[in-house]
């Protein structure tokens, strides 16, 4: 430290250590736990690590720390509890619900420096990971061993295993391989009370009561920190094929899904609308997949070995008139470029600063639900473009309302905000979920009651106070 830094630190400490109410604002105990290179307080770092993929709230943490061990995390939580310092766990910051945003002077706890795969057992097929292992790194690690980590989505090059667990991330292969939850065989967590819990330690069978591990999956950092995870790996995927089908009528998409599921095991069943296709093609300069454009498209993935059965299913859906045209990848390169049509959508509509909603209903309820939501938006704002896509095989729709160029962002979001309750009421009526896989965070915290009953929310609050008695774990997220 140079003299200048010492002076600066002293002045800042004097200014911020005690603010109104005696709360510690600039936690000085951080310097007792962490070495200087593990703490950042500069504006750039605070802006960078203080938020996730969302942009609606300005990041304003008091500091960012980068623990290297579970012991450091534990020491941090204990001191934070004593000083009532709010902590925000931070992973790859690709979250879409504001879960990792620190907008109120919290200390951000980034797992960027806990990014090692600690060990791997080939018999158990379990990789023991620190929480900051990037999802894509675990995928490559598996691939190098002739195995696969099957949870995959467009942000897997940046997201962390810890963040994936905290949000129970899903993605594009849920229909076959399930959610992150299904691959977590053990968790080590530091609770908000500062206790280190080792949950399930990699066992397949363990009938000893409450499985605490699963409480932390999807907890969005509100109960404690995930400091280690044992992730099961799958056997390597077979060579596969990608099919894109043109489906003029939305309800027929589900008949197509059923027809294919009768014949083959699907590893993906995604859909997108013509508007979504137009945007992604314009953005990435991609070729039109089918010779005849239509209203909706389905993207299917399945093993090469099932090609004949898939062709039979295709013949049937053509005959029924549900599908008008389709293409089939003839190489992995083509499979990858067909996937771009789906995976590039989110990025291609970012320039329209869309109002996003990630909703789920039962697959059978999808057609009626989609129609009602579209009607609801169109009735209120007939000139807004509605762009639909999503993991339809899981009943998961991504609703994106695009901002007309002439409108200011503020006015647009305010307008969309007025229809949110109507959309969520439609979700509630359909028995669905206001957040399929992106979490509640701050973005949907005010709407939780549309998917959870008062009794359930009370139980959730009880759990929260049990694990986080001092209310220091990611306050203001999920439960408000």
């Amino acid at each position: 430290m140079t003299l200048g830094d010492v002076e600066r630190a002293a002045i800042l400490a004097a200014l911020f250590t005690y603010s109104a109410g005696g709360r510690l604002r600039m936690p000085t105990f951080l310097d007792e736990i962490f070495s200087p290179e593990q703490i950042a307080r500069d504006d750039d770092s605070c802006a960078n690590w203080g938020r996730d993929w969302t942009r609606d709230r300005a990041p304003a943490p008091s500091a960012v720390v980068f623990p290297k061990t579970a012991e450091e995390v534990q020491a941090l939580v204990r001191r934070a509890a004593e000083t009532a310092t709010a902590l925000v766990p931070s992973g790859g910051r690709t979250g879409l619900s504001g879960g990792a945003v620190a907008a109120n002077g919290e200390v951000v706890v980034s797992f960027d420096k806990m990014n090692r795969i600690v060990d791997f057992d080939a018999t158990d097929r379990i990789a023991r990971c620190q929480p900051g292992v990037v999802t894509g790194a675990l995928q490559s690690f598996a691939e190098d061993r002739g195995l696969m980590y099957p949870v995959d989505f467009a942000s897997s090059g940046s997201s962390h295993i810890g963040g994936n667990i905290a949000t129970n991330a899903g993605g594009i292969k849920v229909i076959r391989y399930g959610l992150t939850r299904d691959w977590v065989t053990g968790l080590q967590v530091v609770t908000g009370a500062g206790e280190l819990l080792k949950c399930n330690q990699g066992l397949t069978k363990n009938a000893t009561g409450y499985d605490l591990r699963h409480l932390f999956v999807g907890s969005e950092g509100t109960l404690g920190f995930i400091v280690e995870a044992e992730m099961r790996l799958a056997k390597a995927a077979q060579p596969h094929r990608v099919m894109v089908l043109g489906v003029p009528q939305f309800p027929d998409l589900l008949k197509v899904l059923a027809a294919f599921q009768q014949e083959i095991t699907l590893s993906a069943f995604e859909f997108f609308s013509q508007i979504a296709l137009d945007k992604v093609r314009a953005h990435r300069d991609l070729a039109e997949p089918l010779s005849t454009p239509t209203n909706f498209y389905a993207l299917l993935e399945f093993d090469d070995s099932e090609e004949d059965a898939a062709m039979a299913a295709f013949a049937r859906v053509m005959e029924e008139g549900w599908v008008t045209d389709g293409v089939l990848s003839q190489s992995d390169a083509q499979a990858a470029s067909l996937w771009q049509l789906r995976e590039g959508i989110s990025e291609s509509i970012a320039i329209y600063t869309p109002y996003k909603n990630d909703l789920a209903v039962k697959v059978s309820a999808l057609p009626e639900f989609l129609t009602k939501v579209t009607d609801c938006v169109q009735a209120a704002y007939p000139d807004y473009e509605v762009c639909w896509y999503g993991h339809i095989g899981d009943g998961n729709l991504h609703l994106n309302i695009l901002k007309p160029a002439a409108l200011s962002i503020e006015e647009f979001y305010a307008n969309c905000g007025t229809i949110s309750p109507q959309i969520f009421a439609l979700v509630e009526a359909a028995g669905g979920s206001i957040s399929a896989e992106h979490g509640v965070g701050t973005l949907k915290a005010d709407y939780l009651q549309f998917s959870r009953s008062p009794e359930q929310i009370a139980v959730m609050r009880g759990l929260k106070s049990l694990f986080d008695p001092h209310g220091i774990m990611n306050p203001g997220k999920l439960l408000v």
């Binding site: 045209d325 389709g326 003839q330 992995d332 390169a333 083509q334």
Partner: protein, 250 residues
Amino acid sequence: MKVMVPVKRVVDYNVKVRVKPDGSGVDLNNVKMSVNPFCEIGIEEAVRLKEAGSATEVIAVAVGSTACQEQLRTCLALGADRAVLIETTDEVQPLGVARALAALQAKEEAGLVIFGKQSIDGDNCQTGQMFAALANMPQGTFASEVTIEGDKVKVIREVDGGLQTVQLSMPAVVSTDLRLNEPRYASLPNIMKAKKKPLDVHSPQDLGVDVAPTMEVLNVAPPAERAAGIIVDSVEALVDKLKNEAKVIS
């Protein structure tokens, strides 16, 4: 005019290949096989010539194992009219393939034979040229544009640092470069129709040629692994290392 397009079955471009531990070759177990991307461009070009009325028939030809039928069916789905497999269990090498194709050309008398400029597995870049010599045909290699002009074909070639335009009298040989076209997707209705298109199988003996390998692969080794990077403390340290260790600046 008939157009003949030889296609090779190769490890898919997107597959991360693994060298077998004994160095005898690449592990093909459970690995996706596809049409060599340059050959796929050849098929696309031939189909476009047919769609434009310059060609009357497109014939896809493969030399290799019975599994090549899969790639030939792809070509039929993409618009080839018929396919020929010259079936052999021998390892296929450029000279053998060129001989077999020259024998077939003697029967088919195609006006244009469109090769990929090279296959992405062996990177030989020889078969088209050997074929041109054996069949005594002019060749326009590394084509980025092909135009039929009466009984001649104009080929714009990608040469180092520029383009060269040549005119060939047909029958002629063309080999495709990457920018010639962007191949289409195989449509499902066409894949279904392709199942009914003719696919003839010949042996090299039928054609009176020998495709046995004349070259032996002694060893295959993966590229050397890169050493791990280091983080330096300051710009000065970086400049020092670039100067004195890496010697990339002075």
